[in-house]
C-alpha cells in the first residue's frame, strides 16, 4: 500500500528549477484556460490535467513543483495551474493514492499544457512502463526498466535485499544459506551486473560466489532495475544490467518523520528492528537510520542429507552454524535550495554469518553433533563490513542540470576458519583465513541539457580507483590497484514533448582501465603444519591496460494508448577483473582451485532487447524477449589436472574465454477485473550457450513462472483502514542445461501468501503484515544456491510478521 498521505517523498529528479519565491500556496480552484491570459508582469503559468490510464480525471492528486514550496491539488476535473517567474524548465511530481508517482518536466512555452497519465500501483512487483514525458534520470526510454518501491520490498521480505528483489521477472539470487545473496539479472551476476547506490557503483568483491550484497534492506526506498546492457551510461560491469538504488526522498519542510519497523521470522528466529528519523529544516535535510537483525540456524524440511557417500544428520531439522547478525546504520545530511540539492550520506553495513561446516572440507556426522546453541555464529564464518561515504549534488540553471556523485567505500571481508583445514599450522593470523580489504574512490558527473523541446543531450564522465589488500593464512586473490575511467554522450529525441509517439536515443562511450597486480609469495608448511621458511610464487607482478568503446541505439514507439513497442540495440564491454587475471588459490566457497589467466581480453557483448506492451482497460501485458552475443566471454573451466596446492584435493579450474550467446525473456500479464482484485502472471526464461565448448554456461536460472492474486479492501474508517490479502504460487522447472561438472537440479512448486493491514488507533497509524513463504514446507534444492553443492535443501516454511509505525511530528516553523 502506498501511504502518500502519511509520508511525503520527493524523488530524485532530472531537472532542477531556479525559483526565487518561497511562498507556500495551496490552490484548489485555479482555472485552467484563464491562466495563459493572466500573466502578471514577468510571470508564466504551467497548466495540466491529471488522468488515469482510461483518461478519466483524477481529482485531489497532489502536484509538487520541485525546489519550490508550491504544492497543488487537482480540481474535480483533474486540472492544476502553477504560476512561475521564468520561462525555463521545471519538474513536477504528481502523486495520488493508489497510483505510481510520476515526475514530469514542463516549461511554460515548450511543454505546456501537459496531460499526466497516472498508472495504478500494483501491489506486487510488476513491470512499469511509464508513459508521458516522465524523464528518467537513469535509463533511456528504449530500455526495459522495472521499478520496485518500498511497499513492494516489504511484501517480499526475505533474508536480504536481493531476496526481496527476486520476485521480479528476470531477477534471481545466488545465495549461501540465508542472509548472503548476490543478484542475478537474466542469468548474469558477479561483475557483469552493477549495483548503483545513489549514483556510485557498489564495490565489495562481487567476484565471489558466496559474497553477498552489502545493502541494508530496510534502507532502500525505490529501486530501478535495468535489464540488459547498460554500459553506455554506467561503464564496465553493467553488461547484464543495473540495480539502481535511488536516493530516498526527504520529507517536506516543517516536520520530522520517524519510522520504526519490527520484523520477526519463524524459520530462523530472526528478530529485526529498523528505526529512522528524518527532517527538513528550511532546506537543511537530515536522516538517521539504524537497523539490526539477529537470526538463528535456519530450518529445512529434512533430517538428513547425502554427501560423499555418507548420510549425514540434520539435527532438529536445522542447519548447523547458519546463524548470523546484521548491524547497519546510515546518516544523511544536506541542503535543498533553489539551485538544487547536495547531500552527504555516511553508512556502515556489518554482517556476520556462520557457514555450514561442510562448506569447508567433508562434513562428517561426528562434526555435526549438537555442541552449540542455535544462535551461535561459530567457525567457519564470514564477517563483512562495508563503509560508504556518498556525496550527491544536483545543480541546475537555465536548461541544464549538472549532477555530481562522489563516493568512498571501504569493504572488509573476513573469512574465518580453523587453519588445520588448509594444512596450515597456527599462525599469527589465528582463525582468519582471508582478510580482504578493498578501498574504492569514485567520481561521476553528468551534464544534462535540453537543446530544444524535442532534443536532449547528456554528457558524462566517470572515474574510479580501487585498491585491494589481503591478509590471512590462506591466499586466493592478490593485492592490486585498478584505475577505470570513461566518458559518454547520449542523445534523446522525442517527437513531441507531450505524450510522444516516437522516442529515439543513441549514445557512444569510451573507457580505459588499468590493473596493477602485485606478486604474491605463499609460505609453505611441513607435515607438522609448521612453516618451512620457504615460499612459492602464486602470481607474478602484472600490469594490464584496457580500452573499450560501447554504444547503444534505441527506439520507443507508442502508436496508441494501447500499444507500446521498444527496441534497443546495445554493445557493452567488461574488462577482466584483477581476480580473473591473477588469482591462484583454493576458493573454499566453491570447492575449487581457481587459476587466473593474465592474457584475458575484454569481453564484448551485443544485445538486442525488445519490449511489447499491451494495455487496455483491465488488462496489461508486457513481453520482453532478448538475444545477445558475447565475444570472449570469460568463465571458469575445469582443467584435467588436480591442484598441486597443499590445501585439499581440489580440481584446478582456470579462467578462459569463449564466444557465448544468451537468449530468453520475460512475460508479465496483469488483469484487474475489479479495482480491488489484481491477478498477475509472470514468466521468465534465460538460456545460454558456450559456443566453443557447445555447453551451457553454469549457474543459469531455470524457467520459472509466478502467479499472484491480490485482493484489497479499503474501509478508511474505524480502526482497520485497509486490508490486503494475497496468495502466490511459484513454479520452477528442472534445470537440465548445465555445464561440465555441474549437476542438474529438479524443479519444484512453492506456495505463499499473506495479509497486510493498516490500522489507525487514535492518532497513531500502523501497518501489520503477516506473510507465509513456502507454506507447504516443501523440500527443494535451489540451482543457484551454494549449499546446493552439498545437497542441502533450502529453508522450509517461514512465517514473517512485520509491524511498521510511521510517525510525523510537525514543527513550528
Amino acid at each position: 500500500m502506498h501511504r502518500y498521505t502519511q509520508t511525503k517523498y520527493t524523488n530524485r529528479h532530472f531537472f532542477c528549477i531556479l525559483i526565487r519565491s518561497n511562498i507556500i500556496a495551496y490552490n484548489y480552484f485555479l482555472i485552467f484556460f484563464l491562466s495563459p491570459f493572466i500573466s502578471l508582469a514577468q510571470t508564466f503559468s504551467l497548466q495540466g490535467q491529471v488522468v488515469d490510464e482510461d483518461l478519466q480525471a483524477i481529482a485531489g492528486a497532489q502536484i509538487e513543483l520541485l525546489n519550490s514550496a508550491q504544492l497543488q491539488f487537482t480540481t474535480s476535473e483533474g486540472f492544476f495551474t502553477f504560476t512561475v517567474p521564468n520561462d525555463t524548465l521545471y519538474t513536477l511530481t504528481v502523486r495520488s493514492l493508489g497510483y505510481i508517482e510520476q515526475r514530469v518536466t514542463v516549461s511554460p512555452t515548450t511543454r505546456n499544457p501537459i496531460q499526466v497519465r497516472l498508472l495504478p500501483s500494483a501491489k506486487i512487483l510488476a513491470e512499469v512502463q511509464i508513459d508521458g514525458i516522465a524523464t528518467r534520470s537513469t535509463s533511456t526510454p528504449s530500455q526495459v526498466v522495472t521499478t520496485v518501491t518500498r511497499s513492494d520490498l516489504d511484501q517480499s521480505t526475505g533474508g536480504s535485499f536481493v531476496d526481496a528483489l527476486s520476485p521480479v521477472a528476470g531477477i534471481n539470487a545466488i545465495n549461501t544459506g540465508v542472509g548472503i545473496a548476490k543478484p542475478v539479472i537474466r542469468g548474469m551476476s558477479y561483475n557483469r551486473i552493477m549495483v548503483n547506490d545513489q549514483g556510485v557503483k557498489q564495490e565489495g568483491q562481487q567476484w565471489g560466489s558466496d559474497h553477498g550484497l552489502e545493502i541494508d534492506q530496510f534502507d532502500v526506498q525505490q529501486v530501478e532495475i535495468i535489464k540488459g546492457p547498460a554500459s553506455l551510461r554506467y561503464g564496465s560491469d553493467a553488461m547484464g544490467g543495473v540495480i539502481n538504488i535511488l536516493p530516498a526522498p526527504f520529507p517536506e519542510a516543517g516536520q520530522i518523520q520517524t519510522e520504526v519497523k519490527g520484523i520477526y521470522q519463524y524459520n530462523n528466529n530472526l528478530r529485526g528492528l529498523s528505526a529512522a528519523a528524518e527532517g527538513n529544516q528550511q532546506g537543511w535535510l537530515y536522516r538517521l537510520r539504524y537497523s539490526h537483525q539477529d537470526f538463528d540456524n535456519y530450518r529445512v524440511p529434512a533430517d538428513r542429507f547425502t554427501y560423499a557417500g555418507f548420510e549425514l544428520p540434520i539435527y532438529d531439522e536445522r542447519l548447523r552454524n547458519t546463524a548470523g547478525q546484521e548491524r547497519n546504520f546510515a546518516f544523511s545530511t544536506g541542503l535543498k535550495r533553489a539551485w538544487g540539492q547536495s547531500t552527504v550520506k555516511i553508512s556502515r553495513f556489518h554482517q556476520r554469518v556462520g557457514l555450514f561446516p561442510g562448506a569447508v572440507g567433508i562434513p562428517s556426522g561426528y562434526q555435526l553433533q549438537r555442541y552449540d546453541q542455535q544462535h551461535s555464529i561459530g567457525l567457519p564464518r564470514q564477517d563483512n563490513t562495508h563503509w560508504k561515504v556518498l556525496w550527491n549534488t544536483q545543480y541546475g540553471w537555465d536548461r541544464s542540470i549538472l549532477e555530481v556523485d562522489v563516493g568512498y567505500q571501504q569493504n572488509r571481508r573476513l573469512e574465518e576458519s580453523l587453519p588445520h583445514t588448509q594444512n596450515v599450522g597456527q599462525t599469527v593470523d589465528g582463525t582468519v583465513a582471508h582478510d580482504l580489504r578493498l578501498r574504492t574512490y569514485s567520481l561521476n558527473a553528468r551534464l544534462i541539457q535540453e537543446m530544444s523541446s524535442q532534443w536532449m543531450v547528456t554528457y558524462g564522465v566517470q572515474g574510479q580507483r580501487m585498491q585491494n589488500n589481503y591478509g590471512g593464512f590462506e591466499f586466493l586473490i592478490p593485492a592490486f590497484t585498478t584505475w577505470q575511467g570513461g566518458g559518454f554522450a547520449l542523445v534523446e529525441y522525442a517527437d513531441s514533448p507531450v505524450n510522444p509517439r516516437w522516442q529515439f536515443n543513441a549514445g557512444l562511450r569510451f573507457d580505459g582501465g588499468q590493473h596493477d597486480v602485485l606478486e604474491h609469495q605463499q609460505p609453505l608448511y611441513d607435515e607438522l603444519l609448521q612453516p618451512t621458511g620457504e615460499f612459492e610464487q602464486r602470481n607474478a607482478d602484472l600490469t594490464r591496460q584496457f580500452a573499450d568503446v560501447s554504444g547503444s541505439v534505441g527506439v520507443q514507439w507508442q502508436p496508441s494508448s494501447t500499444w507500446q513497442i521498444k527496441l534497443n540495440l546495445g554493445t557493452s564491454f567488461r574488462m577482466p577483473t584483477a581476480i580473473e587475471l591473477a588469482s591462484n588459490g583454493v576458493h573454499h566457497g566453491t570447492f575449487r582451485h581457481e587459476l587466473g589467466n593474465p592474457d584475458l581480453q575484454s569481453e564484448r557483448g551485443y544485445q538486442l532487447d525488445y519490449a511489447l506492451t499491451y494495455q487496455k482497460g483491465k488488462l496489461s501485458s508486457t513481453f520482453t524477449p532478448f538475444v545477445a552475443y558475447y565475444d570472449q566471454y570469460i568463465y571458469l573451466a575445469p582443467t584435467s589436472s588436480f591442484s598441486r596446492l597443499p590445501s585439499g584435493s581440489q580440481l584446478t579450474w582456470e579462467f578462459r574465454q569463449a564466444d557465448a550467446t544468451f537468449w530468453g525473456g520475460e512475460w508479465v500479464t496483469t488483469y484487474q477485473p475489479d479495482p480491488a482484485l489484481n491477478i498477475q502472471a509472470s514468466l521468465e526464461y534465460v538460456a545460454n550457450y558456450n559456443l566453443d565448448f557447445q555447453l551451457p554456461l553454469p549457474l543459469t536460472p531455470p524457467f520459472s513462472a509466478l502467479g499472484e492474486v491480490t485482493y484489497q479492501i479499503v474501509t478508511q474508517q474505524g480502526w482497520l483502514q485497509s486490508l490486503e490479502l494475497h496468495g502466490d504460487v511459484r513454479w520452477v522447472a528442472d534445470q537440465n542445461r548445465v555445464d561440465r561438472n555441474e549437476r542438474a537440479t529438479p524443479g519444484y512448486t512453492l506456495l505463499g501468501g499473506g495479509v497486510s493491514s493498516e490500522w489507525v488507533v487514535g492518532n497513531t497509524f500502523f501497518n501489520v503484515m503477516v506473510q507465509v513463504d513456502n507454506a507447504l514446507n516443501t523440500q527443494y534444492l535451489h540451482h543457484l544456491s551454494r549449499y546446493r553443492l552439498l545437497n542441502l535443501p533450502e529453508p522450509g516454511r517461514n512465517v514473517v510478521v512485520t509491524l511498521r509505525v510511521p510517525l510525523s511530528i510537525p514543527l513550528n516553523s
Binding site: T306, P313, I565, L612, Q694, L695, R743
Partner: protein
C-alpha cells in the same frame, strides 16, 4: 505483431545450434567411474570397527602398509587420479592446534591415459611414527575433458581406516585380548559394569593420556556404509581435548583425569567418578570410549549395549 518475428526466428536458429554431437569430444560430460574398490565389510569382519559412525578398516598396531585396489574407467580418456589420505580424528572440526607426531599424509596425483586403469597401490606408512587414529582415504579422478568425480554425487571414493600403533593409548577390556568384544550387557536401573583399564605411555614415546570421553549414543543401523550418532544419554569427560571444540571455540574439557597407577587406570575408577545408571531405552545404544594422549594419538572403542 510482425516486429518480433525476426527475433523469434533468430532465437530459434540459435537454439537449434545447441544440439550435442555425440562424436564431438568437447561434449564428453561423463566423469570417470570407480568400481570394485575394496571396501571394509560391515558384518562380523574382525578387521572392521565402527567408530564415530563410520565403518573403518583396522590397520593393526604392527602393520606397515595399506592396499588400495579397484578399477577406474572413463568413456573417453582418463587424465589423473588423486589419492588423498589424511587424518580425520578431529572429525573435521579442524580443531587441532598442536601435535607432536605428524599425521600420515598422502597427496599423490597419478597420471593416467586410456579408458581404464586397474588400481593396485601399496601405501606404506612404516617409515616413521605417525599419529594413530582414524583416517580418510579418498580417491578422485578426472578425465581429459575436465569431468571429475565429486563428493556431492558420491562418485569420489571415501574410505575410512583406523590406524593403530604400538604407542597409542590402550583401551583393554577384561577377557578380550584380541579386542574382538563388541557387546556389553547390563540391566536397567543398574550401573553398566565394564571391567578393563586404560593404559598410557606405551612404547618409547611415553605419551600420557590427556583426554578421556565416555558416551552412550544411539547409533541407528542403516544400510549405508556410515551412520550418524543419535541421541546421547550419557557423556562424561576427563582432561582437555586437543581436537574437539564446542561451538564457542573452546576445547572440550572435563574433570581432572584420575591418577594412573603403573600407567594403568581401571575403568571402574572412571565409572565411580561419573556414575550412570542404565535406562531401558539405552538398549542398543553404543558405548563409546575415546582416549587422546599428548602425542595426539586417538584410541576409540565402541560396544553395543544390551539392556535386559
Amino acid at each position: 505483431m510482425k516486429n518480433y518475428l525476426p527475433i523469434l526466428f533468430a532465437t530459434l536458429v540459435l537454439t537449434a545450434c545447441s544440439d550435442n554431437d555425440p562424436d564431438d569430444p568437447s561434449n564428453d560430460l561423463d566423469a570417470p567411474t570407480f568400481s570394485a574398490i575394496s571396501r571394509p565389510s560391515t558384518q562380523g569382519d574382525p578387521n572392521v570397527v565402527k567408530i564415530r559412525g563410520e565403518y573403518m578398516e583396522v590397520l593393526p598396531e604392527n602393520s606397515t602398509e595399506l592396499l588400495l585396489q579397484g578399477e577406474l574407467s572413463d568413456n573417453r580418456a582418463l587424465s589423473e587420479m588423486r589419492i588423498d589420505i589424511h587424518n580425520s580424528q578431529d572429525g573435521h572440526t579442524h580443531a587441532r592446534i598442536e601435535q607432536r607426531l605428524p599425521g600420515f599424509r598422502v597427496d599423490e596425483v597419478v597420471q593416467l591415459n586410456g579408458t581404464s586403469h586397474t588400481i593396485n597401490q601399496t601405501i606404506r606408512y612404516d617409515d616413521r611414527d605417525y599419529l594413530a587414529g582414524p583416517y580418510h582415504v579418498i580417491l578422485h579422478a578426472v578425465d581429459d575433458a575436465g569431468n571429475s568425480t565429486s563428493f556431492a554425487d558420491g562418485s569420489s571414493i571415501v574410505r575410512s581406516v583406523y590406524l593403530k600403533r604400538p604407542y597409542m593409548p590402550l583401551i583393554a577390556l577384561a577377557d578380550d585380548p584380541d579386542e574382538t568384544l563388541e557387546q556389553l550387557s547390563g540391566t536397567a536401573e543398574n550401573a553398566l559394569v565394564v571391567e578393563g583399564y586404560l593404559e598410557q605411555q606405551r612404547d618409547e614415546h611415553n605419551f600420557a593420556i590427556t583426554f578421556i570421553r565416555v558416551s552412550l549414543v544411539r547409533d541407528t543401523d542403516r544400510d549405508n556404509d556410515t551412520d550418524w550418532q543419535g541421541d546421547t544419554s550419557y557423556e562424561a569427560m576427563w582432561g582437555e581435548s586437543q581436537f574437539l571444540r564446542d561451538n564457542t571455540g573452546a576445547m572440550l574439557t572435563g574433570q581432572a583425569i584420575p591418577t594412573f597407577t603403573n600407567d594403568q587406570l581401571p575403568l571402574a575408577t572412571l565409572w565411580k567418578n561419573q556414575p550412570y545408571s542404565l535406562i531401558s531405552s539405552d538398549h542398543e545404544r553404543v558405548l563409546r570410549i575415546e582416549v587422546e594422549d599428548e602425542g595426539g594419538n586417538l584410541a576409540v572403542r565402541e560396544f553395543t549395549v544390551i539392556v535386559n
